[in-house]
């Protein structure tokens, strides 16, 4: 008797669970056929870092090689050497390497960057055969334009300097004029 009851109970629970499964038969698939299709990724998704193009430096990044990101990185995966181009107040990076194999995507380097020139790439499925595949040269895409940008920056520097000069001159003149008027 107990056994029959048991079986009846089991059958009922089985039918109940099957009902749930049947209900979901008509559901749309929730998976995508990677790599043919790709699920959308979050706009904030963190991947390897990169240098982003900035307004102040058209065609290039605006890194000033201040090494703050290198210093804060908990995994020591950034290494930068800077140089000072002729006639420029700011430094520029000569090399900017990321060892992505060590990166924990913590985002601390983005936080500290004073020029906000760091961002994330959108590549989330990079694979490689050797560790060397994960050494990213972040300056690669900008090497060609470096000369131009330095020139642009020099130009901007000169302009700023000239503006400052002019302003100081104007102020001095105004002062002199005031003094003259007072007399």
């Amino acid at each position: 008797m107990g056994r029959i009851k048991e079986i009846a109970k089991g059958a009922r629970s089985l039918i109940g669970s099957m009902g749930v499964t049947l209900k979901h038969l008509k559901d749309e698939p929730v998976t995508v056929e990677y790599p043919a299709e790709r699920a959308p990724i979050s706009p904030l998704q963190r991947n390897a870092i990169r240098l982003i193009e900035k307004e102040e430096t058209p065609g290039s990044h605006n890194c000033i090689a201040c090494l703050q990101c290198e210093k804060i990185c908990p995994s020591n995966c950034i290494s930068i050497t800077g140089y000072r181009p002729e006639g420029l107040a700011m430094k520029r990076p000569e090399t900017f390497d990321l060892n992505f194999a060590l990166c924990s995507e913590c985002g601390l380097c983005l936080d500290v960057c004073p020029t906000a020139t760091l961002g994330y790439t959108k590549v989330y499925d990079k694979a490689g055969y050797t560790r060397a595949d994960f050494f990213h040269d972040l300056l690669e895409e900008y090497r060609e334009t470096e000369e131009q940008v330095v020139e642009h920056l020099r130009e901007a520097d000169r302009r700023k300097k000239a503006e400052r000069e002019a302003k100081r001159k104007a102020e001095a003149e105004a002062k002199a004029k005031e003094a003259g008027d007072a007399q």
Partner: protein, 375 residues
């Protein structure tokens, strides 16, 4: 090691040792159980841990407080958000930093979503251990939605580094808020389905009811916390007992059960997901506008010389951080008191006398995450 390996004498020829793990699918990570068996019955059990020890505590002593930010979420990768935000809160308390309201609310939303996702993963894999494949797929579908939501705000899917001292990295978007609200509505329905699918299932009930009972005195002896403790009938939850952040502003129940078997631990977790959802909905309704970062954040994060202890309720129980500062920017010592470590150590007393097949359900039911135990 010598005393471990006893050559069987003549009368216990029918007993034998069995190594379960470290690469066993149902040990949830790299746990090795050394079981001494007589037939199918366990005579003694010794969990052997340490296979995924990554020296997080040593790492803490080699970097400053800010650089330790990515670590806590790697300690317990299933409730990474709770750990990472908990660490921020610990340091904020130590240096006396106020966090803007909006950030506090977002933290609560993310924490609770993370708790649900952790419980969902546990639920799926627990059922998988017991032989039920279907619920696993549903759980991962739901969990995926939460991961997408958290990805939307934090940029990571599992090991979050979303908190910062004094606030958060990014503000939430409307997408996130709408998505969360939508998820809550849909998930209520899903929970009812899970109930039909699993709770009423006879096989599941037979394999869990009365299995793996933790005697009540074990709670004090071993310092059991989290859902395992609540399944013993003790309504203890760090969120209620010593509210951190703004948890004192929310209405939620602490689900408890009394039998303390695998089935009750299961029910407690299911009920907890519902309570987490309640908290999320309240937080969504009250979410104020404003900044997400405190205005004045000291450039140097260096708590005054002294010792600090701060606890949060992770998905598995009481996660405590014991921070010793010598006044510098580098922690003198950070000790992480992780819940599963204590919970797993009870296995030496709980397992003997049970059947080998039940080991799987008992181990599964305490919800261990090995990296969190090994640190």
């Amino acid at each position: 090691m010598a005393e471990l390996i006893q050559i069987a004498s003549d009368e216990d020829r029918d007993t034998f040792y069995l190594n379960m793990g470290p690469q066993h699918p149902s040990t949830h990570g790299v746990l090795r159980l050394r079981l001494h068996l007589k037939g199918e019955r366990i005579l003694s059990a010794e969990p052997i841990i340490g296979y995924s020890h990554r020296a997080h505590e040593k790492m803490a002593e080699n970097r400053n407080y800010i650089q330790f930010l990515p670590n806590p979420s790697r300690v317990d990768y299933l409730s990474g958000m709770i750990y990472s935000i908990g660490y921020c809160q610990a340091i904020e308390k130590a240096i006396g930093l106020e966090v803007p309201e909006r950030a506090e609310y977002i933290r609560v939303i993310c924490n609770e979503l993370n708790r649900i996702s952790s419980h969902l993963l546990w639920f799926g894999t627990f059922l998988l251990d017991l032989g039920g494949v279907t619920p696993f797929l549903y759980c991962f579908d739901d969990r995926e939605k939460i991961l997408d939501l958290l990805d939307l705000v934090s940029g990571s899917r599992l090991t979050y580094c979303y908190g910062r001292f004094g606030g958060l990295v990014n503000d939430v978007t409307d997408d996130f808020l709408e998505g969360t609200a939508r998820f809550c509505t849909a998930f209520r329905e899903r929970l009812r389905e899970y109930d039909r699918l699993v709770t009423q299932n006879v096989i599941f009930r037979n394999r869990t009811i009365g299995v793996g009972v933790m005697r009540p005195e074990l709670a004090q002896q071993f310092g059991i916390t989290g859902p395992c403790l609540r399944a013993m009938g003790m309504a203890r939850d760090v969120r209620r007992d010593e509210p951190y952040g703004i948890y004192d502003r929310f209405e939620f129940d602490i689900p408890t059960r009394t039998a303390s078997d695998c089935f009750d631990r299961y029910l407690v977790r299911i009920a907890e997901m519902e309570q987490s959802m309640r908290i999320v909905e309240q937080a969504l309704a009250k979410l104020p506008d404003g900044p997400i970062m405190a205005k004045k954040i000291p450039r140097k994060i260096a708590p005054a010389k002294g010792e600090y202890y701060f606890a949060v309720e992770s998905a598995r129980g009481h996660f405590g951080m014991f921070i010793v500062s010598d006044g510098s920017e580098i922690p003198y010592r950070i000790h992480l008191r992780t819940p599963s470590f204590a919970n797993l150590s009870t296995m030496r007393t709980v397992l003997p006398g049970t059947l080998l097949a039940d080991t799987v359900s008992i181990l599964g039911s305490i919800d261990i995450v090995l990296p969190e135990i090994d640190r």
